[in-house]
């Protein structure tokens, strides 16, 4: 069983985009997929605040107190990503000093893609240097791309099974 910190945007850039659900609602839908396999899900917005606690402290507190084993960063296209970017930076900072759980970058193919082994950022905004700096860390990020909602659900189901398999003693040695 994994304890997953499910990060990502909460709203779309424009209200005209996808009125069916918000990125926050999508994250909650994804959470249910993982919960069905008995994983625990932590969503920042659903966790109670502590009085006078700064958001970045809450972020680190949740990783440590909840004993997070994996972090999933949901990155759809056309979402408001500013807060998510800050969270990625916080993970980058933590990675410099403390061990960080494996990060699964769950992204739409239109924002980041794999062209013959090379990652190309193409979300229409200049995030190349930003994302590059996050990737320039000792720990590699696990990359999962999705084409549409259906594909996202499938990949989440696959990942859920992947995380479900308990490590053997050999894995732990």
């Amino acid at each position: 069983m994994a304890i997953i910190f499910l990060l990502g945007p909460s709203v779309w850039k424009s209200k005209k985009i996808s009125p069916i659900y918000s990125p926050m609602q999508k994250r909650r839908q994804l959470a249910e997929i993982f919960r069905a396999d008995n994983h625990k899900i932590v969503i920042m917005e659903d966790e109670p605040d502590i009085k006078d606690e700064h958001l970045y402290k809450k972020f680190y507190r949740l990783i440590n107190d909840k004993k997070v084993t994996d972090i999933i960063m949901y990155w759809p296209s056309l979402a408001e990503m500013q807060t998510t970017q800050i969270e990625l930076v916080l993970l980058g900072i933590q990675n410099d000093t403390l061990p960080t759980p494996p990060i699964w970058l769950f992204h739409h193919t239109s924002v980041f893609s794999d062209k013959m082994g090379e990652g190309i950022i193409s979300d229409g905004e200049d995030r190349s240097s930003y994302l590059s700096s996050i990737l320039n860390k000792r720990k590699k990020k696990r990359d999962v791309e999705f084409e549409n909602d259906e594909d996202l659900t499938r990949k989440a189901e696959f990942l859920s099974k992947e995380l479900q398999i308990k490590p053997t003693i050999q894995d732990l040695l």
Binding site: M116, G117, K140, V144, R154, E162, I165
Partner: protein
């Protein structure tokens, strides 16, 4: 998904290479080790990523963002099924004929698990 693997000898070859190496391999390494051209490797990796048969790890090297690929549990399980089928084909060599066995063994390059 497994049926589609059977239809693509190169796909099985790449998965075998990833399993044999047991560590992340870059695009160019896969190409070199399997002796396939970039288009063939790219097509296979796209299929593997779609089916979650591999896990791609991204990192930065110099100014480029690069990927390394390793087998997922789903990929390992798929290969186990293919191995078992290979074993079965070998056991039925008398009925199926040597060429049938050889054809299947060729997929494994130098990593034939039955030798």
């Amino acid at each position: 998904m497994i049926l589609k693997l059977f239809g693509h000898e190169n796909y099985i070859r790449i998965l075998q290479t990833l399993r044999k190496k047991n560590e992340g391999l870059r695009f160019s390494q896969i190409q070199k080790m399997t002796n396939l051209n970039p288009t063939q490797v790219d097509r296979a990796l796209k299929f593997f990523r779609k089916e979650f048969l591999i896990i791609a790890h991204t990192f930065k090297e110099n100014s480029k963002i690069l990927f390394e690929y390793e087998l997922s549990k789903r990929g390992e399980a798929s290969l186990e099924i293919i191995d078992k089928l290979g074993n079965l084909i070998q056991k039925k060599e008398v009925i199926l004929g040597k060429s049938e066995v050889k054809e299947f063994q060729n997929i494994y390059l130098n990593n034939n698990p039955w030798r």
